[in-house]
Each structure stands twice: as structure tokens, then as C-alpha cells.
Subunit: 251 residues, 2 copies
């Protein structure tokens, strides 16, 4: 018994296009090809096709299926590996769902325009939790209301300032200069002044809290959301080190 491509597609519950794809990739070649180029399949091909479709429903990729069917890989092992990958995906999805839910409630709660990233640890929609927990509710609400009172132009200017600073950090980091060099320390001072200009940042005596500066530097490195603004972990480490030297010398 032999079937045309349509017929076997219906028998197996798939489409002729899929069959042609499986032929192109060599996964399920037709048992015979007519003189006109038409593909014909026998029952062996049908059995193979059905095994392929079953594995596909489980989510395995085509190359893996090919190796399993040709006996190059143990099926249980392939499925176990695949299961691990599925679990990772599940975790990713769970985290993503949580993020989306959090963003939605944040957007609904305040009238804040979305995602006001300030290039720093003061993004109010993103870092509220950490700031409140470590430095008290005042630290958050003070800088939050200060930020909200700004006009659009002022916000933009502030952001631009932050961006330029971040850019200079990046540029300095890629040149590989030392954290205690004059240049790095000049950058640290700019960063310090910038932070001081923000109401709500924890103080100590006449300046910023030394502890706060250290904590912030650590956050830059450990939290990817910060780190990416300073060129990833490498760049962020440079910033943290420079800030630490600055704090030791000046605070």
C-alpha cells in the first residue's frame, strides 16, 4: 500500500507542507518518488512519520528527533534532557509573568507614566522595594515626590545628565584605567555630586552616607538591572571600585 502526500498527511493528522519539510531535512523521506517528482509513502514511512509527530508534540526539535529515530541517541536520555530544558522555560515564563503582573499593578496604582528610567538606582517603578527595605520609606517617598514635581523638560535634562555620566564611565572602563586614578576619581566626584543633588538619598553629617554609597556600588555590580547601565558586570565593578576609593578618601 502506498499513499500520496495528501493522503498520508491526512492519515497522520498533519499537512503536506510538513511532509515536504521533513523530506527536505531528511527526517522522513518518501519511500518512492514518481517520475514527475511526486512523493509517495508506504506504511514504513507512515510509522516513522507517526513517531516523529509524537515526539514533536512533546516539543523535541527536528534534529534531535532524527538522531533518536536513527538510534544515535537513547530516547529516554533525549527526553530527560528535553525535560530539563522545558523546566527552564517554565521558570522563565513564571518570572516573566510575575514581572508583567508587577508592572501592571504599578501602572494601575500610581498615575506614573511608564518606566521612567533615570539611569540609576532611583527608578521609582523598579527599585522601590530595595530602597524602602534598606533605607526606609522616607528615602523613597522624598525622592519620589521630588522627581514627580519636575517638569518634563527638567526630567529630560536630568536623564541626559545621567546618560552622559554613564557614558563617560563606560568609556573610561573600556580604556582600562585604574579605579584610583585621577580621572576615575573625577568621575566618582561627578557621580557623588549627582547623587547629592537628589533629595532623599541618605545623608551623614554634611554629605552623603558612606554606607549608602557602598551599598549602591554593590548594587551596581550584583543587580543586572543596574549593571547593564554601566556596561555590564565589568563596567559596574569599575564604577563600584572607584566609588569605594572616593568614599574612603572623602567621607
Amino acid at each position: 500500500m502506498e499513499w500520496s502526500i495528501q493522503e498520508i498527511a491526512k492519515l497522520a493528522g498533519t499537512t503536506s507542507r510538513t511532509l515536504r519539510h521533513y523530506d527536505e531535512t531528511g527526517l522522513v523521506p518518501p519511500s518512492r518518488t514518481g517520475g514527475n517528482g511526486y512523493r509517495y509513502y508506504d506504511s514504513d514511512a507512515l510509522v516513522r512519520l507517526q513517531r516523529v509527530l509524537l515526539l514533536r508534540e512533546l516539543g523535541l526539535g527536528i534534529p534531535v528527533i532524527g538522531e533518536v529515530l536513527d538510534g544515535q541517541h537513547d530516547d529516554v536520555r533525549a527526553l530527560t534532557l528535553h525535560l530539563a530544558w522545558l523546566r527552564e522555560e517554565q521558570g522563565r515564563l513564571d518570572r516573566q509573568i510575575a514581572s508583567v503582573e508587577g508592572t501592571i499593578t504599578t501602572l494601575k496604582g500610581g498615575e506614573k507614566p511608564m518606566a521612567e528610567n533615570m539611569f540609576d538606582g532611583f527608578d521609582h517603578t523598579q527599585y522601590e522595594g530595595e530602597v524602602v527595605e534598606r533605607w526606609g520609606k522616607d528615602a523613597y517617598t522624598t525622592s519620589d515626590s521630588w522627581w514627580r514635581a519636575k517638569s518634563a523638560d527638567e526630567k529630560k535634562a536630568f536623564k541626559e545628565f545621567g546618560a552622559e555620566l554613564a557614558f563617560d564611565w563606560l568609556e573610561a572602563a573600556t580604556r582600562g584605567i585604574d579605579a584610583d586614578s585621577d580621572e576615575a576619581q573625577a568621575l566618582a566626584r561627578r557621580q557623588y555630586d549627582w547623587l547629592v543633588s537628589i533629595p532623599g538619598t541618605p545623608r551623614e553629617g554634611d554629605g552623603l552616607s558612606k554606607q549608602y554609597l557602598g551599598w549602591l556600588g554593590d548594587m551596581y555590580v550584583t543587580d543586572p538591572r543596574f549593571a547593564k547601565n554601566y556596561g555590564g558586570e565589568a563596567g559596574a565593578t569599575f564604577v563600584r571600585d572607584a566609588l569605594k576609593v572616593f568614599a574612603d578618601r572623602n567621607l
Copy 2:
């Protein structure tokens, strides 16, 4: 302030390729293009880019992000819609994981070669649960051992017979003939004889159980794993109806 494509990519924690992609799609065009074709971005573009990246991390697609940023769609609504889609994906993943786990334990448990689909409700790895629950453990074990005792050639022949039968059902269904026509009834008889030839199928008097035949027909329609072997729900319905007429007339 103005940055090159590399610089803004690092500032935002992404790659220059992504930037060019966002330019092509119109999502984040550069603020200026040099005479040499180089792209340059200002702080407005940077802000826009960061909003895009934030939404991308939440999993939204590029077209949707574009509509949200241009104010054509409410952001909360877009996120809520996206959340629904994420939950669907989550469900899909959960089911897939369960399937893979089930398949693994089945494969580990018995020495059965994987996925011996018989084109019918007797696939031992797939339908054991339903058969045992409805028709008792004997029905399953009897046909299971009968099947296992077969040689590879015999199995193949049996499968081929089933495939031909399924094919003829399909072909008859697409022609739109009646379930009580002679032709359909001839097919029903072939199906009946085929089922009778399998030990373990529930009996009643000198033939197959009428109830069993009805149950099987219903399964063909309601269970997608069966239905797809008979051309989806439409084809399976035809088979079920023909079997029902056959049962009424002959059992």
C-alpha cells in the same frame, strides 16, 4: 549629546545589531544619519530605546511595542492581553512537561519499544488508562500480551491493515456518503472484524460487545488522539455513526 550605535548599545545594554533591527522596523529610528550612513542617537532616542527594551524583557512583540509607544494602544491593556497569552503558554508548557514525564516513566517501566501506534484505541502506551478504567484490567493485559507476542513482521502487517482501513474511511468520508449506505456498512464490517480479531476486546454472546463498540466510536470523536487517525473530528464522526448503525443492525 549624541552617541554612535555602539555607544548607545552599550549604554542601554544591548547590541548594535538590535539597534539596526529596530531601525529597519521603524521602532527606534536614529535621531540623525551621517553622510556615510552611520546612525547617531540622542537622549530622546535613548529613552525610547530603554522603554522598548523594558517591554521586550516582559516578552511583548515588536509591533505591539511600537503601537504602545506611539500611543495607539493603552499600555495596561496591552500588558493585560500579553499576560493572558503568557498564561496560555504556561498551560501549554505544563501539559507538555506532564506528557514528557509520562512518556519517560512509561519507557522506563516496560521494555516496550517506543510509541507502537496501532492506529486505534489499543495503543498500549497511550490508552492504557482509559481501557483499564472502563473495561477492566483483563481487557488490557490480554490484548497487551497478545500484541507483544507478535513478531515484527506480524506487527507491521497488522499496522498496515489498520492503516488501509483508516485510509478507506477517510476516502469515504471525503466523498460525503451516508453512514448507513452499503459502502459505509461494508467498512464498518471490516472494522468490526478487525476488532474481533484482537483478543481482549470486550465480548457479549458470540460477538463484540455492543456497548464497547459505541464507547469506542465516541472515543474516536472526542479524543483528539483517536480523531486525527480518522481525519479529524469530521471524519471520526462519520466512522462513529457508521459503527453505530452497524451495531444496531447486527448486534
